[in-house]
Symmetry: C2
Subunit: 353 residues, 2 copies
């Protein structure tokens, strides 16, 4: 089993902030990025945690991310706003956008904020949950680099466009759906190929457009959207709502990770006020009732847990000491290397057995 | 090949209205129902066309649908409304709800209308397209009787909760996604079983919770949601947004088709004004550009068409004479039987070769 290390939240955030400062990211922006990455690491979603700095640092150095953007309001009409992220961190403009959406919905029932000229914004769940923490319903979506082919083609011309919905509950944490639109991620297939393993049927097509269980063949083909034409349709609609509608790039215009150029990603943030429909306590009682219905469905096998969307991530987060975060060795090693490279002190840490 | 018949739209609507009149449905309500069914038949979606009257007539006779409801406004606050359908036709309250949502969004950028105490409302696309026809973006969702099990269970305690998004375009018709959250419908599996055919892997689990290609075994088990836990999460979220949030029934409280009792379905209608984000013509130009990207993706095989969501249905609709509708023999036979039973003249018709 991989070793893991525990470090203080404050040290985690400080190291990231200091690295980003050296790349001309202002402290307040750097803190927004780091708080967001910390949340993913605490939930055990290491793909969206500290390790992401690796890519972001490259993107700043290559001029793809503007380290010190000036966020502007392009449109502002009653319940709708449109923001321009000035090619800065997706995290920064998105934090601001969701706060605006929530402020609007608290006053007027529903707030919709679009964003253009953004970059990767991390886990969509983070923003949807900002709304849920304020007893609003959060709906968040973004476009992304091409990964999904329209049904009938093998050429990825659409992003895997993640989306999230988060609902406040009596549980002490929200129910949060956060998904992209493929059956499995390309990264997972790459891992299977590396380990010489096969993949389940339905994950991908080979280069001839045939279903395959061979991970190597799958990498030469294309990953499949959920429910075939359904997932293609969902991802197309999200591209329209985030890329087309906001004035951002869309379809195969969005650069791949290893391509240069401004990403110009588009996002959409919606906040919906429950109190416009019913008393908050009544709503949460009703959510509780639905949770009971779902949780008491007979299980296929006794050892299986019937989980709510996002439940596993929240259980991981809540199992941690509040002021610390547990990180697997490979992430800790990256932190170590980064602190050395930027001549910063290695955060105080504890090896966990 | 099955024979088909052509009848005039006006005759189609009149027959339905006269039948519904005899069951105490007011003419205006009956016309709303029939216009909606006609749209589905014109698109070739016969499962949501005239034939549905069969079920609705039974539901009225059994007291499950109130033929003459009094629709009331439960909440009305700026951009949000909540309507009570008084257990009438889902079509009637939904038509009214979407009109309200559009009127709000035209004035204030975004309108959200919830509905409780409703019934089956037909194709979700119909309402989403009402918005698109008015150059708004329409988003529509509903809950439904239990059909989907949470991941880890075989017991359907959640509806297959259809949803639709419709986008105005330069094409002369909108792009419309209209999907439920299972890989395939239970009805399709029943048909495969009747024909002694097998089903693709991934459609269903058998009664032991194992993937099966045997249609008979599948019917004893459960249909699978798209992307497994993803589709389960989507359908759960739609139940919260439509059933829980509106004060309707939700989860396994919603009666099955053959159970008696008020359905009390919940729906949510959202209309979003494009002009709050950018000029309409610019938006449609950009949608056009995205359509070109999708349509020009290289095809797996030459004979395949890369389709937009809803394209096939619109091509069918637009291929018809404007004042007539083409119906397959089995639907025409139902019309014949119904007109006999209710002592009404059989619509003038033409047999097509």
């Amino acid at each position: 089993m991989e070793k893991s290390y525990s470090i203080y939240n404050t040290d985690y955030i400080q190291l990231g902030r200091q690295v980003l400062n050296q790349l001309n990211v202002p402290s307040r922006h750097a803190e927004i990025v780091m708080e967001n990455l910390l949340d993913s690491d605490k939930k055990g979603i290491y793909t969206h945690g500290f390790y992401r700095l690796d890519t972001y640092i490259q993107q700043i150095k290559r001029g793809n991310i503007n380290p010190n953007p000036k966020i502007t309001k392009v449109k502002d009409h009653l319940n709708i706003k449109l923001l321009d992220g000035d090619d800065g961190f997706g995290y920064v403009v998105s934090q601001y956008a969701m706060e605006e959406a929530i402020a609007i919905s608290e006053n007027r029932g529903v707030g919709v904020v679009g964003v253009r000229k953004s970059n990767h914004f991390g886990a969509a769940a983070y923003y949807a949950e900002m709304a849920a923490m304020r007893n609003q319903i959060g709906i968040v979506m973004t476009n992304a680099s091409p990964a999904i082919a329209p049904t009938g083609s093998l050429k990825p011309v659409l992003g895997n466009n993640p989306w999230s919905i988060s609902i406040p509950t009596h549980l002490g944490y929200p129910i949060t759906l956060d998904i992209a639109n493929s059956v499995s991620a390309r990264g997972k297939i790459r891992l299977k190929a590396l380990n010489g393993e096969s993949i389940p049927l339905g994950w991908a097509l080979n280069e001839n457009g045939e279903p395959t269980t061979d991970a190597e063949e799958a990498l030469k083909g294309v990953i499949l959207p959920i429910g075939d034409y359904k997932g293609y349709g969902i991802t197309l609609m999200i591209d329209i709502l985030t890329g087309v509608l906001t004035g951002a790039k869309f379809g195969n215009q969005v650069p791949l990770v290893d391509q240069d150029g401004k990403r110009n990603n588009g996002h959409l943030f919606i906040s919906l006020d429950i109190k416009a429909f019913m008393e908050l306590s009544e709503f949460k009682d009703r959510v509780d009732e639905l949770i009971k219905i779902v949780k008491s469905a007979p299980k296929i096998r006794e050892e299986i847990d019937i989980l709510l969307p996002g439940e596993r991530e929240w259980q991981t987060k809540l199992s941690q000491e509040q002021d610390k975060v547990k990180l697997p060795e490979r992430i800790f090693n990256f932190i170590h290397a980064l602190s050395t490279e930027y001549h910063l002190p290695l955060p105080k840490n504890e090896l966990l057995i």
